[in-house]
Amino acid sequence: MKKGFTLLLLLVFCTSMLIAGGQNESDAAASDGPVKLTIWDFKYSEEIVGSALKDMDSLYLAANPTVELEHIAQPHDNYYEILAAAVGSGRVPDVIMAHTDQRIWNMDEFLLNLDPYIADWKDNISDSAWAACSSTGDSSENIKIVPLTAQGLGIYYNKANLAKAGVDAGSDLSEWETFLEACEKLNNAGIPPVVMGNGGQPFGIDFAYRTILANFYGPELAGFRDGTANFTDEAFVEASRMMKTLFTKGYVVTENSTMPYFMDAIELYKSGEGGFFFGLTSDIAHWKDFGDAFGYENLGYMPSINADAAPYRDRQSSQGAGIGFAVMKDSKNIETAVDFLYEYVHGDSANLFLNRTGAIVPNKNLPIDNESLATVVNYMSNNAVPDFYVQLDAGFGAEMYNYFQLFFLADEISLNKYIESLQKAYEMNL
């Protein structure tokens, strides 16, 4: 009997240990002390952006001594998986960094609707950024994210290398024929015409498509969200032909198929190699990255390539917002969290972020004193069209990359088969 009782005690102990392991930390513990804000971030460990964010935190803490920040750097590659696990378990941080695309809209119901909290300062941020931060794509309502950057895709060129190859950098390089002629001259001069990283995941091809498609579809790019635009459209087929030409003519160097875009291809272009680069307008691979590397006087920018078959010209692929911060609905510190985000995108913090990282900040009141930045911002403000990729289902986006590999890199399927396969996969994911 005594032995049985001991065993029973052991069982109760084990069970209680199991249950205790799954208990949430009590919120009451923090109620008497300062407000503690937990922030998850996939850029916090990055050298440039991370250090800027740390300094922005310091600015906020200096102005708000009653707040404690627990800013946690999460891994970029599986950030949304970690976030999904947290959401599933009900243990979420107060604030999360997010891309303004399908990855976060999958978790829409767990994000706080910021409409009543941002009304007083909403006008400071551009409408296109708010639209990207709305779960319904409408800048007037359902805002779930405060935008930190305005993201877009464009084409950078190295004027010094173009000059070496005998290309007049003052000519309109955005014309398809002129662009091809420039590539040919660069090739003949032994300069890789297009530096494009496609190792692992073919981001180089992805980014090139997004710039070229901007002129083919213009505002109708939004149709890839609901199936009104299709991969079988002549516009997409023609854009694919143009892209393929870059490969068949050898303007995209062979080695690029195994070179990762982040960071290898970017570093290669920064080192002064190559003529053209399909890059971003914020984060990295942008005007500041390249301007700092090989001189702003040598840096050119154009938003897209103008082709006869494309109905639009000089359209700028724009996500409205690239990354931003959302407040979780279950946060116990909503007021503090919103205040924290206000500080992040205004005044000294926003200025610091812009100047340190080169990311375009969608705050309309920030001064712009760099010519290259002014060029990009001008296109972003006046010629913006929806970005192709963010319209797509997250699963299909990954699948599309597999077909990019087959058609462009491995060269194993025909254009017809490529288009047919993409359309079929697209329809399955609509």
Binding site: G4, A84, V87, G200, T254, Y401
Partner: protein, 298 residues
């Protein structure tokens, strides 16, 4: 009731109480997830939030999905490499057992891939085999023209075979050798001496003494290899090829990750997991048979 019977009942009760924590853990972490997976495979579910019942829709979709069929085909190719993945370490172990000069050094070298782990191994080979990697440098140095166009991982036809050679054969070689060497240490050396006196050559001794003597170990290693191919390749594929080019190295396991954790289609991923569960069940059944046979032999 006799005292003996009372004691027996007491012992049975104690046994259940002692087993209870383990059974509880198994229920929570094994049985429940398996049953839940079957349920979620019939739902539209993102992995969080509410699940919507859709019946067999996910299965219907799976059978129309080219990724699924590519995954099965790729698993078929990988399985074809398993016999080589078992035979080569067996052969090396037999050679090492005979006392190769400097064999402790070779043993260490061969075991290295096992120590590295799949993530490091995948990353290393993605660098080694890249178009700007050391393999191309070496081939170019040896005079191979356009070595960078070989691109073993960049072509569908060669990618899955390259993955198979690295994962099924190379990465298992070290563990296999040590495992078989240990099994061979139990063979009576007198059998080899007797066979030698009878005029048996090295291969005859290998096939008629070594292999039959450790047949249980070989079968066990075979089953382990199947498990590795079906259920432990994810991290290797992720770091080496990401399932590409196209779907040339896509596997069921990798597909579950992509559908469930990247696309947030956890319901659909669960239907893939049911298929994987089916294959793993077959392997488990084979494993049980092997273990039973081992018990009988011992």
């Amino acid at each position: 009731m006799s005292k003996k019977r009372l004691m027996k009942q007491q012992e049975e009760r104690d046994a259940f109480i002692l087993l209870a924590p383990l059974l509880l853990l198994m229920l929570v972490f094994t049985v429940y997830p398996v049953l839940a997976n079957f349920f979620y495979s019939m739902t539209k579910w993102k992995g969080f939030g509410a699940a919507e019942w859709v019946g067999f829709q996910n299965y219907a979709r799976m059978f129309q999905d080219v990724k699924f069929w590519h995954s099965l085909k790729n698993l078929g190719v990988l399985i074809l490499y398993i016999p080589a993945g078992v035979f080569i370490p067996l052969l090396i172990a037999a050679i090492l057992r005979d006392g190769l000069k400097g064999w402790t050094f070779f043993r260490s070298v061969i075991y290295l891939p096992t120590i590295l782990g799949y993530v490091i191994l995948g990353t290393l080979f993605s660098i080694i085999l890249s178009q700007t990697g050391p393999m191309v440098e070496v081939l170019s140095f040896l005079g191979v023209q356009d070595a960078n166009t070989i691109n073993l991982l960049g072509k569908s036809r060669s990618a899955i075979h390259t993955v198979a050679v690295i994962f099924v054969i190379f990465s298992k070689m070290g563990f296999g050798c040590i495992y078989f060497l240990s099994a061979m240490s139990g063979i009576d050396s007198g059998m080899y001496d007797a066979a030698g006196i009878d005029g048996a050559g090295w291969w005859q001794k290998f096939f008629h003494i070594t292999v039959p003597s450790i047949s249980f170990s070989i079968q066990f290693f075979l089953v382990l290899s199947f498990i590795e191919v079906f259920a432990r390749m994810y991290s290797f594929i992720y770091t080496l090829t990401y399932g590409g080019p196209g779907f040339a190295t896509f596997t069921l396991e990798f597909g579950i990750y992509r559908q469930g954790f990247q696309a947030f289609k956890m319901g659909y991923a669960s239907s893939w997991a049911v298929v994987l569960f089916f294959f793993c069940s077959l392997i488990a059944a084979a494993q049980i048979q092997v273990l039973k046979k081992g018990d009988q032999l011992s």
